[in-house]
Subunit: 350 residues, 2 copies
C-alpha cells in the first residue's frame, strides 16, 4: 500500500504538506498542490482509514452487529442501514454473531456463551474505532447486555433494551396483530383460531394482545381454547392446525408464514382448501408467502424502515442531536407492519 510518507518523499515535501493538501487545508501554494495531487493520482494513493481513526478518534464508520445474517429478517435491515449511512457519508462494517447457526435457540438464556461471542465482536468494532453501533437482533426480546459502558453511541434494531442510552427501533407487533385480525373479522369470520409462536416470546404476546383487541372491538368472544402455541416453524403449524380445525374454526391466524405453511399441509391432507374451506392468515410476508396456493394474506415486516430509522437515530446520536431519554426510561420507536391482502382469507357469511 502506498503511504503518505512515500508520496511526500516523491514530491520532496513533508508528510504534513501532503496531508494538508489532501484534507483541503488552505495555506498551500497552487504549485505544490498540483504536483502532489498528480503524484497521489499516479501512485493511486488511498489514505489508511484505520490510521486516520487512530489519530482522529473518528472514523466515519458505523459498526453493525447482526445476531445472524441468515435470519430472514436481517439482510433487509442491514441493507437499509447501509443505504442510509452511505448517503450520509458513513462507511459500515458488519460483524455476524452467527447465534442461530451456532446454537439454534439454545443460547437464549445462556448469557455466558452469548457473551463469549459478543465480546470479540464488540472488541473488533472498538478497535476499529467505529463512531457508533447498530445491533440487529434476530427476534424481539429485552436485551440487557448493554448496561456496561459501550463507550459509543448505539441503537438496538428489532429488539428492546433496558438501557435509556440505547434507543430501540422495533416492529409494532400489537398493531400488526390488531390489523390482521381486524381484516379477518371484516371478512365475516367469527370463529378464529390463532397459532402463536413460543408462548413467552414478545412477538407472540404483543400480536396476541392486538388480535384480542380487534376481537373485543368486534364484540367477538375470545376463546382461549382456540389459541395454540408453536415454535415458529412449519411443523408447529401442521400440528396445531388439527385441534383448531376440530374445534370448528373458520379461519386461522398464524404468527409466522412458515407456520401457515404447516396449516396448508394439514388442510391438504384433510382434503380441505385453504382460503375456501378454512381461511389462513400469516405474519412476516416472507418470500414464500407469494408462492403459497392460494397466495398467503399476511403482515409485512417493515424491515427497511427499521434499518433506516435505526441509522437515522444513530447518526443523530453521533452528532449530538439526540436527546437521551429523560427519567431513565428506554426510548422505543415502533414501526408499523403493513397488511398484504392476497388470496388465503375468504369471505364468509357471518
Amino acid at each position: 500500500m502506498v503511504t503518505l510518507k512515500e508520496i511526500a518523499q516523491e514530491c520532496n515535501v513533508s508528510a504534513t504538506t501532503v496531508s494538508n493538501i489532501l484534507n483541503g487545508k488552505p495555506k498551500v501554494s497552487e504549485e505544490t498542490r498540483l504536483k502532489v495531487l498528480d503524484v497521489v493520482k499516479r501512485r493511486g494513493y488511498q489514505p489508511n482509514y484505520i490510521a486516520q481513526g487512530l489519530r482522529n478518534q473518528k472514523t466515519r464508520t458505523i459498526g453493525i452487529i447482526a445476531e445472524d445474517i441468515a435470519q430472514f429478517s436481517t439482510p433487509g435491515m442491514i441493507e437499509s442501514i447501509m443505504a442510509f449511512c452511505e448517503e450520509k457519508g458513513y462507511r459500515t462494517i458488519v460483524q455476524n454473531l452467527r447465534l442461530y447457526a451456532r446454537w439454534q435457540e439454545s443460547w437464549f438464556n445462556n448469557e455466558e456463551a452469548y457473551r463469549s461471542v459478543l465480546e470479540p465482536a464488540l472488541q473488533e468494532l472498538r478497535s476499529i474505532k467505529v463512531d457508533g453501533l447498530i445491533y440487529v437482533a434476530g427476534h424481539a426480546r429485552i436485551i440487557h447486555f448493554f448496561k456496561e459502558d459501550l463507550s459509543m453511541p448505539a441503537v438496538m434494531a428489532y429488539a428492546y433494551t433496558d438501557s435509556p442510552a440505547v434507543p430501540a427501533v422495533v416492529i409494532e407487533d400489537e398493531q400488526g396483530g390488531y390489523d390482521i385480525m381486524k381484516y379477518v373479522l371484516s371478512m365475516g369470520h367469527r370463529r378464529i383460531g390463532i397459532i402463536g409462536g413460543r408462548a413467552d416470546n414478545i412477538h407472540t404476546k404483543k400480536r396476541l394482545l392486538g388480535a384480542q383487541k380487534a376481537m373485543f372491538e368486534a364484540q367477538v368472544l375470545y376463546n382461549p381454547d382456540w389459541v395454540r402455541y408453536g415454535a415458529w416453524d412449519r411443523d408447529s403449524g401442521y400440528e396445531m392446525a388439527k385441534p383448531l380445525i376440530d374445534a370448528g374454526v373458520t379461519a386461522i391466524f398464524c404468527m409466522a408464514d412458515r407456520m401457515a405453511g404447516g396449516v396448508y399441509d394439514y388442510l391438504e391432507e384433510c382434503g380441505l382448501k385453504a382460503g375456501v374451506d378454512v381461511s389462513v392468515a400469516g405474519f412476516d410476508n416472507q418470500d414464500v408467502a407469494e408462492y403459497f396456493r392460494p397466495a398467503l394474506t399476511t403482515m409485512a415486516l417493515p424491515l427497511s424502515e427499521i434499518g433506516h430509522k435505526s441509522a437515522e437515530i444513530l447518526l443523530k446520536e453521533i452528532d449530538g442531536e439526540w436527546k437521551a431519554a429523560s427519567g431513565g426510561t428506554p426510548v422505543e420507536i415502533g414501526v408499523p407492519c403493513t397488511l398484504v391482502v392476497r388470496k388465503s382469507v375468504g369471505k364468509i357469511e357471518a
Copy 2:
C-alpha cells in the same frame, strides 16, 4: 477503552512488560506477572486488534466482500466461511457492496460504477490490514477486476477469475444440469422443455450443456425449440411455459426455482397439475421449493461447501501452503450440486 499504557502505569511497570506478559514471553517474574494479570482482568483490558495489525502487519482477520448479502445464495456462503475461519482462529469482517440493491442488474457491464463501490470496500479492508480476502459473487461470471495487485491473498467464491493468483470456487453447473436432466429422463420423459436464465449467463450455458449431455446419452434428440430463456424470475417462468406446453412437452426443467414458480402459475391457469399433467424441475433449492404444491424437485446449491472450501484455500494461501497455478491458468475448484427429489416430476410411460 483501556490501553496497554494505562495498565502499565497502574502497575508501575513499562508497557513492554505488560505486552510481554500478555503475549506469553518468558522472562517475567511471577510476581509482576500476577500483578499485571490481575489489573488487566480488573480493568477489563482488551488489546486493540487494529493497533496490533498496524504494528505487526498481521491481524488474523479475513475480509469478506459480498456483492449483495440480500442475494439468496450469499448468507449461506458467508456463514460457512465464518464458521471455518473461526475454527482456525481467524476473525472475519464483512463488506457489502449492495450491487443488486443499488442497480438491479444494470451494473453488470458498468465497470466504472462497479469500481466506485468496490474500491472503498477494498480500501477499508486494506486499512484494517486483513490477512486475506474472499469475494462472494452474486452470480457466476468471469470477474477480471483482480488484475491489479490486491496486495493480499484472495479467493473468489461463486464466480470465475482470469487471474492465476485468485483461485475460484464455483458450483458445478454442468454436472447440475446433467444430473437433473438425467433424473427427468429416468422418469420416462422424452419431450422435455428447458427454461434457462439469461442466454449469455454462465450458469445458463453450463447447465444447458450438462442437460444436453444427459439427453445425448439417453439418445433423446435435442430440440432447440424447446429451449427458452428467461430472466430468472417468476414472470419469466410463466411467460416461457406457454410455448413449451403448446409444443407438447411433458416436463420442464427450469434453471431457477422461482421460474418454476411461474410455470406452476401457468399450469394452474390452464387447469393442469404440476407433477401429473406436466412435470417440473427447478434449480437452486431455495426455501420456497419446499412450499410448492407439489413440492419442487430441484438441485441444491452447495453453498456451505463453497464457503468452506474458499476459506480453506484462503488460509492455505496465507500460510504459504498453496501453490499458485502454474502456467498462468486460473485455478478453478468445482463443487457439485445435489439432486433433491420431491414431488414435481412424475413418472410417465415413455
